[in-house]
C-alpha cells in the first residue's frame, strides 16, 4: 500500500520536473502564434488564440531569412572544416602520441577559455584585414570553439578503436595514409557524425563572436534575435518565431545524437 503511494509521489515529482523543463519551450512556441497585443494580456493565454504561422513568415522577411541563411553557411563551413581537421589531428594524437596527454589537453583547454580573452585582438586583426562583417571572419572565430572540441573528441574515438586491425593492415602492405583513409575513418564513422553534430550545435548557438564581428551582411540568427530589442520594445511574436527557427534544427540534431549526448557534452569525460 505505502509502496504504491511512494511510487505515485515519485511519478508526481518526475511529472513536475518534466513540466518545468518543457514549459518555457512550450511558452516560446505558443507566443509565436499570439499577436503582440495578446502577449500583453491578463490573464496570460496558456493556449494560443489561433494557430497561425504568419509571424514566422514576417520574421522570415524581417532579417530572419537572411540570418538563417548566414547561420547555415557559417555553421556548415565551420562544421566541415572542424570535423575534417579534427579527424586528422585527432588521429595523429591517438596513434602517434605526439605531445602525450598534455598537448591534446592543452588544445582542448582552448575551448574552455572565456571568449572575452581573445575577442579584442581578433576584432583588431579582422579589422586590419578588412574582414569585419564577412562570413570568413565568423567561421574562423567559430573554429576557436569547435576545432579543439573536434580534435579532442576524435582523439577519444580513435583511441577506442582496436589497434590490431590497423597493425594487420600495415603488415599487409597498406600505406599509413591508406590505413587512415580505408580503415580508421570508416570504423570511426559514428564518432565523426557525432563530432560534426556537436560542432554544428556549438557554432549555431554561438553569440559573442558573431555579435562583435558582424554588422549587416554576415549577421547570424542569435545576433538578429538579440537585435529584436528596438526602441519600441521587443516584438515578441517575431522574436519567438525566430527563436523557434533557431531551436528546431538543433532539437532535431539532439534527438539524432541522443545516445552520444553525454559523451559530447562532457568532452568525452563520461561515456
Amino acid at each position: 500500500m505505502s509502496k504504491t503511494l511512494t511510487s505515485y509521489i515519485k511519478y508526481f515529482i518526475i511529472f513536475i520536473a518534466v513540466l518545468f523543463f518543457l514549459f518555457p519551450i512550450y511558452w516560446m512556441f505558443i507566443t509565436t502564434m499570439k499577436p503582440q497585443l495578446e502577449v500583453m494580456y491578463y490573464p496570460p493565454l496558456f493556449i494560443p488564440p489561433e494557430f497561425t504561422i504568419k509571424y514566422y513568415i514576417e520574421a522570415f522577411y524581417w532579417l530572419g531569412g537572411e540570418a538563417f541563411k548566414n547561420s547555415l553557411i557559417i555553421t556548415t563551413c565551420t562544421t566541415i572544416i572542424a570535423t575534417v581537421l579534427g579527424c586528422m589531428a585527432g588521429y595523429s594524437f591517438a596513434r602517434y602520441k605526439i605531445g602525450g596527454f598534455h598537448l591534446p589537453f592543452w588544445v582542448l583547454s582552448i575551448r574552455m577559455m572565456p571568449p572575452v580573452a581573445a575577442i579584442v585582438p581578433l576584432f583588431i586583426l579582422m579589422f586590419k584585414l578588412k574582414l569585419i562583417d564577412t562570413h570568413l571572419a565568423i567561421i574562423v572565430t567559430h573554429l576557436l570553439v569547435t576545432l579543439p572540441f573536434a580534435i579532442w573528441m576524435m582523439r577519444g574515438f580513435f583511441i577506442d578503436l582496436p589497434l590490431e586491425i590497423e597493425e594487420a593492415a600495415r603488415v599487409d602492405g597498406c600505406s599509413k595514409w591508406q590505413v587512415l583513409w580505408r580503415i580508421a575513418l570508416p570504423l570511426a564513422a559514428p564518432g565523426i557524425a557525432v563530432t560534426a553534430l556537436f560542432c554544428f550545435i556549438f557554432s549555431w548557438n554561438e553569440f559573442v563572436f558573431a555579435l562583435v564581428l558582424s554588422r549587416k551582411e554576415a549577421i547570424t540568427l542569435p545576433v538578429v534575435i538579440a537585435g529584436t530589442r528596438t526602441q519600441f520594445g521587443i516584438h515578441w511574436p517575431i522574436m519567438t518565431a525566430m527563436s523557434a527557427m533557431s531551436c528546431l534544427p538543433v532539437f532535431f540534431l539532439a534527438l539524432v545524437a541522443q545516445k552520444y549526448l553525454v559523451r559530447g557534452m562532457t568532452l568525452g569525460a563520461v561515456k
Partner: protein
C-alpha cells in the same frame, strides 16, 4: 631529427590544426597579454602607451571589479549548487523508478531540450516568462499568494532571475551525466544492498555517492568553466543591471572593451579571468588524465 622523420605523417596531420589554433587562439591571447600593459583606447590605437602593471593595479583597486567577482561567485555557487541538488535528486529518482527498463530512452528526449537552446533564446524566453504584469510566472505564483515580483527589473531579484534561467538550462545536463554515472555502477551492488534491506538513503550514501565522485568532479568542473564564460544570458536578460546587480566579470570585461573602449583595462581583466580558468582546467586535466592511465 630522427623523431621528426619517424612521425612525419602524424605531424603532417596535425599541422593545419595547430596553425589555425595558433592564429585564432594563441596569437590573440599573447596579444591580449601584451596590450594589458598599455593604456589603449580603441578609437585611438596610435596613442596607446606602455604603463606597466598599472591596469592590473587599477583593477584590483576598483570596487566594481570586486563587485563583479562577488556577483560571479554568487551566481556560480548558487546556480551550480541548485543544479547539483536537483540533478542528483532527479537522477536518483529516475534510476530508482526506471531501473530494469531502459531508463534513459524513456525520459531523455523530454528533458534534454533546454541545454540545446541557444543562450540568447533562453534569455529572451525568460524575459517573456518574467514579464511583471503579463508574464505567466507571476500569474501562477499569484495562486499561491506570492508576488508579483519584478524579477529582472529589480536589483533584489535580478541575480536570482539569472540563476533560475541557468538552473533551467543546465539541470538536465547535470541529471543526465549523473544518471550515466549511476547506471555504470554494477547492479550487483544494488542487489546485495537490497538483500541486506538497505533503504534508498543508505544506497545513495554508501553506494552511489562514493562511486560517482569522478563523474561529480567532471560535471562540477565543466559547469564552473561554463559559468565563468557566461555572457549571452546576462547580455539579453539584464545587461548587467539594474545598477550593477548582475554584472558578472565577463560582462564587465566586455563592457570595458566594447562600450567604454578601455581595451588595455579589459585585456588585463581577461588575463585575470584566464588565470582562474587555467586553475580550473588543470583540475579537469587531472581528472581526465587519471582515467586514461
Amino acid at each position: 631529427m630522427n623523431w621528426i622523420r619517424k612521425n612525419i605523417f602524424g605531424l603532417g596531420l596535425l599541422a593545419p590544426s595547430i596553425i589555425i589554433l595558433f592564429v585564432v587562439s594563441i596569437f590573440p591571447m599573447i596579444y591580449t597579454f601584451y596590450i594589458s600593459f598599455f593604456n589603449y583606447y580603441l578609437p585611438r590605437p596610435n596613442r596607446a602607451y606602455f604603463i606597466g602593471f598599472e591596469n592590473y593595479i587599477e583593477i584590483l583597486k576598483d570596487g566594481m571589479f570586486w563587485l563583479a567577482m562577488k556577483n560571479t561567485a554568487i551566481f556560480m555557487i548558487s546556480s551550480i549548487g541548485l543544479q547539483f541538488i536537483f540533478g542528483l535528486g532527479l537522477a536518483i529518482l529516475f534510476y530508482d523508478e526506471f531501473r530494469g527498463r531502459s531508463a534513459k530512452a524513456f525520459y531523455l528526449p523530454l528533458i534534454l531540450l533546454p541545454m540545446m537552446v541557444a543562450p540568447v533564446v533562453v534569455g529572451y524566453v525568460f524575459r517573456l516568462l518574467y514579464l511583471t504584469e503579463w508574464g505567466p510566472l507571476n500569474y501562477l505564483l499569484g495562486f499561491v499568494g506570492l508576488g508579483p515580483y519584478s524579477w529582472t527589473a529589480s536589483a533584489s531579484t535580478s541575480l536570482l532571475s539569472l540563476v533560475i534561467a541557468d538552473v533551467w538550462q543546465w539541470t538536465p545536463f547535470v541529471t543526465l551525466v549523473l544518471l550515466t554515472g549511476i547506471l555504470s555502477i554494477s547492479s550487483e551492488l544494488f542487489e546485495a544492498a537490497d538483500l541486506d534491506g538497505a533503504n534508498l538513503w543508505q544506497k545513495v550514501r554508501y553506494i552511489i555517492l562514493p562511486l560517482i565522485t569522478r563523474v561529480i568532479a567532471v560535471v562540477v568542473l565543466i559547469r564552473m568553466l561554463d559559468s565563468l564564460r557566461e555572457l549571452d544570458k546576462v547580455y539579453i536578460l539584464t545587461q548587467g543591471g539594474p545598477g550593477t546587480s548582475t554584472t558578472l566579470v565577463t560582462f564587465w570585461s566586455y563592457l570595458n572593451g566594447f562600450k567604454y573602449f578601455k581595451v588595455g583595462y579589459a585585456a588585463a581583466m581577461s588575463i585575470i579571468l584566464l588565470i582562474v580558468t587555467v586553475i580550473l582546467a588543470t583540475g579537469m586535466a587531472k581528472v581526465l588524465h587519471k582515467e586514461e592511465k
